[in-house]
Structures are given as C-alpha cells and as structure tokens.
Symmetry: C2
Subunit: 264 residues, 2 copies
C-alpha cells in the first residue's frame, strides 16, 4: 500500500475539504499539543492552523512527532504575532472558553457553534475558532476579539480539557454538522436481512423437526411455544446467511439425534 | 480554595452520577493512555473503568500522572483477564470499531450509541462501552461479544484516533445525550438585554445630538439615515449596560465638539 493511501507514513494525503474554519491556537505552549491538535483537526476535517506567538517558536520537531501523519496541516500552519493579525482576514471568530465572567457575549454549545460555523462557511464567509494557551486559557483581550464564546456542556465537576481534546470536540461537531449517517443501521456486508418468507421457511423447518422429536407434543402448549420461538427470531434483524447457518444447526442436531436413535 | 473544590490537586472530587456506562479498555498498551482516558471519562461523566489484560499490568504510576486529577476513576478501576469476564454482569455492550469487515452487526454513530445507552441506563440496565488496544483495535472475538458497533462519522481520509480521543467523543456524546443547554444564549452576567424603551431612549439621545451637530441636516436623507442607525443597533442584543456606555460616548463626543467650538 502506498503511504498516501494509508495515511500513516510520512504524512497523510489529507487535503482541505471545502471552506472550513481556521483553527487559531493562541500562545500555545507545548509542541506536542500542537501536533495532537493537528491530528484532531484532520479527524474532523479542519485543515487550516494558525499559531499566535507560540511559546517555543515555530516550526517545532516535536509537533510533527505527535501529529500521527497530519503533517500537511503543520506544514501549512501560519504564524502571527497577535490575535488581531491572525483574525484580520476572517469574517467571524468564535472562541472556546470554559468559564467566562463579567462579560456580555453570546455563548454557544459546541454543537450550536458548529452549526453556525457551517451556516457561515456555506455563505462563503471565512471563519475562525480560537483556542487559548494550555494553562491560562484565553485572556480578556483575546475574548474581546471573538463574536461569540463556545462552552462545551461537560461534567461541571471536571471541566479541565487537554488542548487537543478541546479541538477534537469542535472538529467532531464540525464534521457531524454536515454528516447524515443514520444513527443505527445493520451492517450486513455480503448478506442481507432475511425476508419474512425466508424466515417462515426456517420456522417450518425448525417446527417440523421439533414436532418430529416430540418437543412440541403437548398440544395445549404447542401454539404458544411456536409463537414464542417466532417472537424470539423476529426480535433482531436475522440475515439470510444466519438463517442458512440455523438451517444447518437444526439439520445437524436432528441428524445427531436420529443417528443416536438408530444406534440404540 | 480547597483541592476538592478546584478538582486540580491530588484527585478531583468526582463521584459517579447515576447509572453510567462502564468503559472497558481491552488489552490497553500505554499507561499514559489509560490516564488520559480516565480524564476524558471524568469530562463526560463516565466513572467506571475496567481493564482487560493491560499489557504492563496494573496499577501503573504513569497512568496517574496523565490523568490530570481523575484519580478516583483509576483507583476504582477493575482488572479482568478476559472480555467475557469483564462483561459478564452487563446487559448490553457496545464496541467502538473503525472499520469492521465481513461481519453482520448493527452499526451506530457515536450520537446514536449514546442515545441508546441513555435509554438503557434509564431502564436500569448495566451497559458497557468497549475500546480496543491502541494499534490493532478490537479483534473479531472481541467484537462477537458486543451487541453493536459504534463507528464515529469522521474524515474518512484520516480516521486514526488516539484512544483517549475516542473515549472523549463517546464521553462527550454521553453527556450531551441528556444535556439541555440552549445552542446559543446571550450571557449578560450583571446586566440584562435592553428593553425596546431603553433602546429608544438612547436613539433619541443620539439623534438629538446628531441633529444638533448638523450630521442629519439633509432633510431628504434624514429619515433613511435614522432608520439605518436603528437597524444597526437592533442587529445584536444590546444590553442596558452597553446603552449606558453608549450614552456616555455620545455625551462626551458632543461635549468635546462643543468645547472645541467654544474655544474657537
């Protein structure tokens, strides 16, 4: 397999998809967090990284080592001296912030923020998502540069999020905001869900053999027992392949019984 | 501040909330990932950790060092030799799995899975969420122990997730499945959104001063200019506190102009 196909060696083949938000890391401290942030961005379809005054300068080799192949995001990252410079060409900027105090600002959930970002990018606007430094978070001057704050609904007894985890949640919600995967689907791969006719065919086989061996000999209970078996086989979505296996199970169990009876 | 209140020093005061899913890490390899997983669990309100055959044994000091205070989850973690042992007392088990092949299984999104887990725990059932080892993921035998697989909708060109990131997404969706935070709300802290009367009062002040200084002297354009200013001030939700500031701005600008005129 080619590296570009597997996305594992020397940088994955991840190119920007459409108009996506810029992730702005304000005064990031740890190179490793910049790398894991790039990985989380790639997971959720965010490709544009900007760094405002990274503590240890840029580029930093340790970022690449922790990016798990999201090299292209790091390679195209842009560095700015101030937040104002980093957001100058954007139309809207949201800032993640766990506990804002004493300010008047719209506060969005991660999901609400992602939906609004999608709506803006669909209109062709350039948008940004601002994340603060690891320990202190964004300061008051940073937050005054944001249209709105994003605050994740999470356990209030334990809100402390790693930087890459915070980015992961927004990247995930960004992806989910346009995803239409059904919440539940039966993956059948090479087979298909059995039709009612295929199931009836199996039920006749099973009941015939059960009649033969005497399991259903109590005439009063017979109808109820058959119904209960039918209830059970209808509870999930049995597949055609599984019915073939079950036909085999019934046949083999019957054959074994008959062989034992014949051997008596 | 007390350590128990801040949740930062020597273990946060995080206690189980209700009946929550057990997180089962199958053959985890890195102690650090067990620690960061505990942190992600605490973020999303998951408290019960089980480890199946951890590669380097248990307990591992490095797990505590990366848990950022989620010590209680690590301290109460249970260790099992097999997946069957780890799930024996549970009613339902979901397994996260990026790319299942050749099997017949319900596949849920993270959001769909979280909704079903909530529904089950609300009925008093004990449920588990299974995560595979870092490199290989769950094997076929592990997956045969799960009711359903959870597959995250994420960028198909870059699906590789760190273990703690995978747990973070499920923990976040678990929390969100019962969260009712409005997607957008104006945080006003000490003030309130201005009433229309408060805004009209400011508009009268502004327009009066603009009339006085001659800015609205073009009678043909006057009405349109006043309407445009009104449109602008109505676009967001201006607060009573901001209107007081704006009253001050208008008054001070007018005073400055008058002083300059008086000084001529």
């Amino acid at each position: 397999m080619e590296a570009g196909m597997t996305g594992r060696d020397g940088g994955a083949d991840i190119g920007p998809i459409g108009n996506s938000p810029v992730v702005i890391l304000v005064r990031p401290q740890m190179a490793e967090n910049i790398g894991t942030t790039a990985r989380a961005m790639a997971n959720g379809g965010l490709f544009h990284m900007r760094l405002v005054a990274p503590r240890d300068g840029w580029p930093l080799e340790r970022a690449w080592r922790s990016a798990s192949g999201a090299d292209r995001i790091l390679e195209s990252a842009q560095v700015f001296e101030t937040v104002d410079d980093a957001v100058a060409d954007l139309h809207h900027v949201f800032a993640t912030c766990p506990r804002p105090r004493h300010i008047v600002k719209p506060v969005l959930t991660a999901r609400g923020g992602a939906a609004e970002l999608r709506e803006m990018t669909d209109r062709g606007l350039k948008v940004g998502l601002m994340f603060g430094p690891e320990r202190a978070g964004l300061d008051n001057e940073d937050m005054a540069r944001a249209d709105a704050l994003i605050r994740y609904p999470l356990n209030p007894a334990f809100m402390s999020l790693n930087l890459a985890q915070a980015v992961m949640i927004m990247a995930y919600e960004w992806w989910m905001a346009k995803d239409d995967t059904p919440p539940r689907a039966l993956m059948t791969n090479e087979t298909h869900v059995a039709t009612r006719g295929e199931l009836d065919n199996f039920m006749r086989h099973l009941i015939g053999d059960l009649d033969e061996c005497g399991f259903l000999r109590n005439e009063q209970k017979r109808a109820g027992m058959v119904r209960n078996l039918r209830h059970f086989f209808l509870r999930g979505e049995v597949t055609e392949q599984e019915l073939r296996t079950l036909h085999g199970v019934v046949t083999e169990l019957s054959r074994g019984r008959k062989a034992r009876q014949g051997g008596k």
